[in-house]
């Protein structure tokens, strides 16, 4: 049984496309709706980030519902940074009540990165424990405290994986832990170092994880070498090979070069066994997504 189109696509063995929508730093629904209308039809589902980089934004749940209203399927991201197990379960019940079923469980960027570095974080549970809690709610029909749920939520559970973080040898083990905790799909950190990602996928297949979880590989179109350097130096857990920075620096039209690079990456990813889709992060350059999926031949 599938609870979402994303799940249906993936379980049917179709190549899935997801794309990111960053909620606004305000309460204007129109900002989400505008992006939603522009991106509609370019992906199977859309990730609504949860106060990404620890900056206060419209909640991922509210933004997910706005997307639903525009006819897009949301993937609600939920960090462990800002809520304890009580708030998490409450938000899951609320999300499923409102028709939001794809949920991505993540630890979240530390608050030092954002606009409230003075904040106290929560981390009552980590993302693996978050998956355990949500899976119990769905499969055992009870909340983590053991009380039965008259109507259990039906989430399609996702997690993040970062093949570019260290220690590299442990990244696949961590993915395995997420899978055994309940992850049905994973979205990876943006792939710019294809060679390292291939090695990662090799280990994933070696452990048979490709049979148990849908791996959706992250991609990012870069507009300039400055954007590449920013990713390299400022974004936690990113790996940006120098040849990519150089290629963008030398390009006469860096934007077009960035698109070309992204298309090449998607092409290589499509041919890696075990990769069941791509996740496009084009923050502040969302208008490029329709063109990317068109030219990559992966438009839903």
């Amino acid at each position: 049984m599938s609870v979402s189109m994303l799940q249906e696509m993936l379980d049917a063995g179709r190549f899935a496309v997801t794309a990111e929508i960053g909620p606004p730093k305000s309460c204007e629904p129109e900002q989400v709706r505008k992006l939603a209308r522009m991106l509609k039809g370019s992906a199977h589902a859309f990730n609504l980030t949860d106060n990404q980089a620890a900056n206060v934004r419209m909640s991922s749940l509210a933004s997910s519902v706005l997307c639903l209203q525009e006819g897009l399927e949301p993937v609600m991201q939920m960090t462990c940074r800002d809520r304890n197990r009580i708030a998490m379960q409450s938000d899951l019940l609320g999300a499923c009540a409102l028709g939001v079923h794809n949920v991505l469980c993540i630890s979240g960027d530390h608050q030092v990165f954002g606009n409230h570095p003075q904040a106290k974080n929560v981390y009552d549970v980590d993302p693996i424990q978050q998956l355990m809690i949500f899976r119990r709610m769905r499969d055992e029909g009870m909340n983590w405290g053991g009380e039965p749920l008259p109507q259990p939520p039906q989430p399609f559970l996702g997690a993040a994986a970062n093949p570019f973080a260290d220690p590299f040898e442990f990244r696949v083990a961590r993915l395995a832990k997420k899978v055994s905790a309940g992850a049905q799909f994973v979205q990876t950190q943006c792939v710019l170092d294809v060679e390292r990602f291939q090695r990662f996928m090799g280990y994933v297949r070696e452990r048979g994880l490709d049979e148990e979880v849908h791996v959706i590989a992250g991609v990012i179109p870069l507009r300039s070498h400055k954007a590449a350097l920013f990713m390299k130096n400022k974004v936690a857990g990113m790996c940006v090979p120098d040849h990519i920075v150089d290629r963008l620096r030398r390009a006469s039209d860096p934007k077009e070069e960035g698109i070309k690079l992204c298309l090449e990456t998607i092409d290589s990813l499509k041919s890696i066994p075990g990769v069941h889709g791509v996740h496009i992060t084009a923050i502040a350059w969302e208008e490029i997504v329709p063109r990317l999926v068109q030219e990559a031949g992966i438009r839903p």
Partner: protein
């Protein structure tokens, strides 16, 4: 040990405004070892305050008293007879015990008490334990992820771990990177494959302020009385 550091002098001066008789309390235990509030620091602080009072005409009379351990009542008896303000260079525990014992005194914090840690090099101290009340060091190669991972993760490093460093700062070691390495050295990588379920935080501060009772340590008749009420 408990790690503390001296408050900036300007902040201390502001707190002391309006005082008359000031006693600077040093402690020969933890805050002495982390060089924040031992005998030497108490003496220095006392001199600085006297000088400030002289220059600004504050009229303070300042003197230092250093005790063995400010967090135990028996050791703070030397404070008997003290009047006015006590500027505590002992940790937050010591400051509170002194206040409790001498309610008429105004006890002010002269240090910021930070964590339970250990010296790493000369003058460098690193947090080691968050006092969670349910130790899991046997699962993590003797390295505490609750105190030392910026997100207190219990199931391995987050996606921000790179080159052994934590995403919060290049000066901070990633505790999980250390744990993975230590477990590798010990041949205990199997421990990493096990999912640790959500932690019961009741024994931690989340269960409310804690009181620890060691019945064995009680005198015989109290032991019996305690067991009867349990």
């Amino acid at each position: 040990m408990i790690i503390a550091e001296r408050k900036p002098l300007t902040e201390v001066l502001e707190m002391l405004d309006g005082s008359g008789e000031i006693t600077v309390l040093g402690c020969r235990s933890c805050t002495a070892i982390c060089l924040a509030g031992g005998e030497k620091e108490a003496k220095e602080m006392s001199e600085a305050l006297s000088l400030h009072s002289e220059l600004k005409g504050k009229g303070w009379s300042v003197r230092p008293i250093t005790v063995e351990r400010a967090c135990e009542k028996e050791f703070i008896l030397p404070l008997q007879g003290v009047k006015g303000t006590v500027l505590s260079l002992a940790c937050g525990v010591g400051a509170q015990v002194v206040q409790e014992m001498f309610p008429m005194l105004q006890v002010l914090p002269g240090v910021n008490t930070s964590n339970m840690g250990a010296p790493e090099g000369i003058g460098v101290f690193v947090e080691k334990c968050a006092g969670c009340g349910d130790c899991i060091l046997h699962l993590t190669a003797g390295i505490c992820p609750i105190a030392r991972c910026a997100k207190s993760l219990l199931n391995g490093p987050c996606g921000g771990s790179q080159n052994g460093k934590c995403e919060v700062s290049p000066d901070t070691a990633c505790a999980w990177d250390q744990i993975v390495r230590s477990l590798t050295t010990q041949g205990r990588l199997d421990l990493l494959e096990r999912n640790i379920p959500p932690k019961d935080w009741r024994p931690s501060r989340s269960g409310g302020p804690r009181r620890t009772v060691n019945v064995e340590a009680m005198p015989g008749d109290s032991q019996k009385a305690w067991r009867d009420t349990e």
